[in-house]
């Protein structure tokens, strides 16, 4: 354990497993107290282990997205859906639609019950989004791509190349667009964009060709001892396995799907993927430089996510009261003990995950300005 307390990056896969566990847990409840507790747990972990990197800002972006989702969900309910319940709060001017549009309604009475339903439903979706957002903030996308299994290596490379090319393309567009000014031409409007498209695309094409040449001369795609046919089978196995695993996860997460879709499909998918990965890694020519280790801390963080999901899924399977907030008739939500326990477990990575390396930590606000100036001064 002592080795695990050294500052280091946690394996990005562990963060994703933890976040998906939280998302799965959130999908099992409509109780706003539990959902808010899950968001709180995610926020605590993000706050304590978020690195100083551009992608780490995605948490607040996802929180804003979640709020939009709730607002939209409530508006849709109020404007378009048939009300449930009897507690009418306000009656909006309605529009009677023809018979063949029986399910759709515009305006009309707004009940407390349907408002609560929409609010809880929106909050659940927002919570799931925020869980994904916290994984995005905690796990570096490039480190995640480095952990892509050998069988999917080619796919990983294209994503990496796209990730580095896109910002360059954006800055190229900007540069060429402003350069139009030097010829006395407009720098904004459709004609400016059309005019700058050609030089930008030509530049991008030239760069891709030189990147391809550079990768070729650095040994990308050296042939290993495996036949092409075997490589292809491995890839098919892996992709098929991943698809099966995704279906399995969906089965587990969505409460209403048949039992066959859940665990068995997930198990089948994982098995198939593992077989192909082992086969691929045996045949691979390439090796990995400083792969992120998967050790105790990764298991603990993953375990926290799995336990959170397990506690709430188990609770809902056993029919523990309070996991769903009363809507019709409306009532105050209660907080079941099992949910408190689950969210406590969900927040443990804030303590159990190893601290970030010093260079990756965000600085306190008062020293930040000094640091942003420093690189220029040194360079």
């Amino acid at each position: 354990m002592s080795g695990d307390r050294l500052p280091r990056w946690l394996h990005p896969g562990a963060w994703w497993a933890w976040a998906l566990g939280l998302a799965a847990a959130a999908s099992r409840t409509t109780n706003p107290l539990i959902l808010l507790l899950i968001i709180g747990a995610a926020a605590v972990v993000v706050q304590s282990r978020r690195p100083a990197a551009p992608w780490a800002r995605s948490f607040s972006f996802f929180v804003r997205l979640g709020i939009i989702v709730i607002v939209v969900r409530v508006l849709v309910q109020v404007l378009f859906s048939t009300s449930i319940g009897t507690t009418v709060l306000v009656t909006l001017p309605g529009l009677t639609l023809p018979d063949w549009l029986a399910g759709v309604r515009l305006g009309g009475p707004v009940t407390l019950e349907s408002l609560l339903l929409a609010l809880y439903d929106g909050l659940r979706l927002a919570t799931i989004l925020i869980c994904i957002g916290s994984a995005n903030a905690l796990a570096s996308p490039t480190r995640l791509l480095k952990s892509v299994p050998a069988a999917l290596y080619e796919l990983g490379v294209s994503v990496v190349v796209a990730l580095t090319f896109t910002p360059q393309l954006v800055s190229d567009v900007e540069r060429v667009r402003t350069t139009r000014r030097l010829r006395g031409r407009p720098t904004s409007g459709p004609r400016a964009i059309a005019g700058s498209a050609l030089p930008v695309l030509e530049g991008a094409l030239e760069r891709s060709v030189s990147l391809a040449a550079a990768m070729d001369s650095r040994g990308y795609g050296r042939r290993g001892a495996v036949s092409a046919a075997r490589r292809r089978t491995t890839a098919v196995f892996l992709l098929g396995g991943l698809v099966a695993a995704c279906i399995g996860v969906y089965g587990l997460v969505s409460a209403g799907s048949p039992a066959l879709l859940g665990l068995p499909m997930l198990a089948l998918g994982v098995l198939s993927a593992v077989i192909s990965m082992v086969a691929a890694s045996r045949a691979a020519v390439r090796t990995r430089y400083r792969p992120d280790p998967w050790s105790l801390a990764e298991w603990v963080v993953t375990g926290a996510g799995v336990a959170t999901a397990g506690l709430l899924a188990g609770g809902s399977w056993l029919g523990v009261p309070g996991l769903d907030a009363p809507i019709d008739p409306p009532g105050w939500p209660t907080l079941p003990l099992i949910a408190v326990l689950a969210t406590l477990v969900a927040a443990t990575p804030a303590l159990t995950a190893p601290p970030l390396p010093l260079t990756a930590r965000p600085l306190p606000p008062d020293t930040r300005s000094a640091r942003t100036r420093l690189p220029e001064a040194v360079a």
Partner: protein, 554 residues
């Protein structure tokens, strides 16, 4: 180590070969310099070493190339990656990952080296090239010299026996170039790596070379030999060699140090002469005025407290490290820089308030990538568009171009022009409106000596015709040849502003070779010395003393 045996290369769709019957043997541990004009087949020769030509580019190859005993016909580039490391001209275009450390490891990952070996070699390479402080930095945030060193390190970790570099210093400021060259020296001396590099800036590299290969182009035979013997008759030579030829020194010096030792008699001969300088009218009106200018980008101050003036008929050179604010200052003079405080006046107007033809008529900028200016698909279309933009008579731009670069054809696509031709086309496009203030950003990047000489003549003529010219450049020899005044920027501030001879001779970094050799006398170019020598030997009358105004300061 490398052997070319009767190699003839023809690109697809071409009738004449790029390289014809090349026979060349490069022994192990040599630093080889490949020189030749743009388009002479230099890059092709380099690419043939690791099989990119013809495996990647296409084309037909006769004869064979052997690298460490491997025939490139049988081994494609990826199978040669453990023997030959290639650093492309623009290092940024060859980076696959986004962080320094990962980039160093990428090649080794492809070769399948065991993790402990990779770890050790990355650490060694970080130390060898002085990159330790940068290991976690994003590649995008590095300066030009740092990028170049990372690119060298990235291929070096595979422990190649041969390192191939295409113009490693042409985009770098003098300081960064020396850093890179010192790193290469170390590889050759300590590790026995064979280094093959192409470079236009001979003055920077020729003294380090063990072997010089001249690629004359047009299918003529390739010449190889020791630098001293090749340089005696080479059509292109750095100033130190030209001075040596002029003074008839034996053996021919290649470095400033050797030249200084031989220069005693020449210095005595030049006593009593002063360099002939281009005449600048003292009554010239001030064309551009910069007063206490500050420019800031989102997080950084790019320029502050900059005050300067540019007068008609004057050529001013902006020098300084990469990132010192040279481009920002030029951009501010055409109204392209964000968040400005202080004042920029061109002809009494704020350039940000000018637009369209009015802007073109008062100031023109040729940007660092001249291709950015060009949007048409043929040279003729581009010229017509320029006439329209500037609302001048049809044919103006084409006539200018015919004057400056008579060999450019109408139907050519601007992208297919050589670097130098593209620059001249962009220059003509800007000159169509006859802007009294002309700005050039890094005009000599990738230009060979003849094109550079032509550019210098063009600039001199424009200044004589009354244009005020400001050029940002790293090229100390060009500055010595054309500039009347030099402004040196550092971290966004003006640190020196004065006549060329005054500023440049007092700086070890920015002094041209002739000035280093003949210091403390203020001689800058071989032409000046040649004129003085001719005068003192009585062949062309008395020396002309036409010193420029402000020379008293120097």
């Amino acid at each position: 180590m490398i052997r070319f045996e009767d190699v003839t290369l023809t690109y697809p769709g071409e009738t004449a070969p790029v390289l014809a019957n090349v026979d060349l043997a490069i022994p192990e541990g040599e630093l080889v310099l490949v020189v030749g004009r743009t388009g002479s087949g230099k890059s092709t020769l380099l690419k043939a070493i690791n099989g990119l030509v013809p495996h990647f580019t296409g084309g037909t190859m006769a004869g064979r190339v052997l690298v460490d005993g491997r025939d490139t016909r049988d081994f494609p580039p990826r199978e040669l990656a453990d023997v030959v490391g290639v650093v492309p001209q623009d290092p940024m275009s060859g980076f696959v990952t986004d962080v320094v450390e990962d980039e160093l490891a990428y090649g080794m990952e492809c070769l399948g080296l065991p993790p402990d070996v990779m770890r050790r070699r990355v650490e060694e390479t970080l130390d060898l090239l002085g990159l330790t402080d940068l290991r976690h930095r994003a590649l995008r945030t590095l300066s030009g010299g740092q990028r170049q060193r990372v690119a060298i390190g990235a291929v070096l970790t595979a422990h190649p026996k041969v390192l191939v570099l295409d113009e490693p210093t042409s985009a770098l400021d003098p300081g960064a170039a020396e850093e890179v060259l010192a790193a290469l020296q170390r590889l050759v001396h300590d590790l026995g790596v064979t280094v093959v590099m192409a470079e236009h800036r001979l003055e920077r590299v020729v003294q380090y070379a063990d072997l010089v290969v001249i690629v004359p182009g047009d299918g003529q035979p390739v010449v190889a030999g020791s630098p001293a013997e090749v340089m005696r008759s080479a059509p292109i030579a750095p100033p130190v060699v030209e001075l040596g030829r002029l003074a008839g020194w034996h053996p021919l010096p290649l470095s400033v140090r050797d030249a200084r030792r031989a220069a005693g008699p020449l210095r005595d001969l030049l006593v009593g002469h002063t360099p002939h300088l281009r005449a600048v009218r003292s009554s010239a009106r001030v064309r551009a005025e910069i007063d206490d200018l500050m420019v800031r980008y989102a997080s950084a101050v790019a320029l502050h407290s900059v005050t300067a003036e540019v007068a008609d008929g004057e050529i001013v050179a902006l020098m300084g490290r990469n990132g010192a604010g040279k481009s920002t200052l030029l951009n501010a003079m055409v109204g392209l820089s964000p968040k400005v405080s202080g004042r920029v006046l061109v002809d009494g107007h704020d350039p940000r308030e000018l637009n369209g033809p009015a802007l073109l008529r008062s100031v023109g900028l040729v940007p660092q990538e001249p291709g950015d200016l060009l949007e048409a698909t043929t040279v003729a279309d581009e010229c017509r568009a320029a006439d329209r933009d500037a609302t001048c008579d049809p044919g103006t731009t084409r006539a200018l171009l015919a004057l400056m670069a008579p060999d450019i054809e109408d139907g050519t696509h601007p992208r297919d022009l050589s670097e130098g031709q593209r620059l001249l086309l962009a220059l003509c496009v800007i000159l169509a409106a006859r802007p009294p203030l002309l700005l050039l950003d890094e005009p000599t990047r990738g230009l060979d000596y003849p094109t550079k000489a032509r550019l210098a003549t063009v600039l001199g003529d424009l200044a004589d015709a009354g244009h005020a010219i400001v050029l940002a450049t790293h090229d100390v020899e060009l500055v010595a040849a054309v500039a009347d005044r030099v402004i040196i920027l550092a971290e966004g501030e003006v640190v020196a502003d004065g006549t060329t001879s005054h500023v440049v001779t007092s700086s070890p970094m920015f002094a041209p070779q002739v000035s280093k050799i003949l210091a403390p006398e203020p001689w800058l170019t071989v032409e000046q010395v040649a004129a003085a020598v001719a005068a003192s030997t009585g062949e062309s009358g008395p020396p002309r003393h036409r010193a420029a105004e402000g020379e008293a300061a120097g």
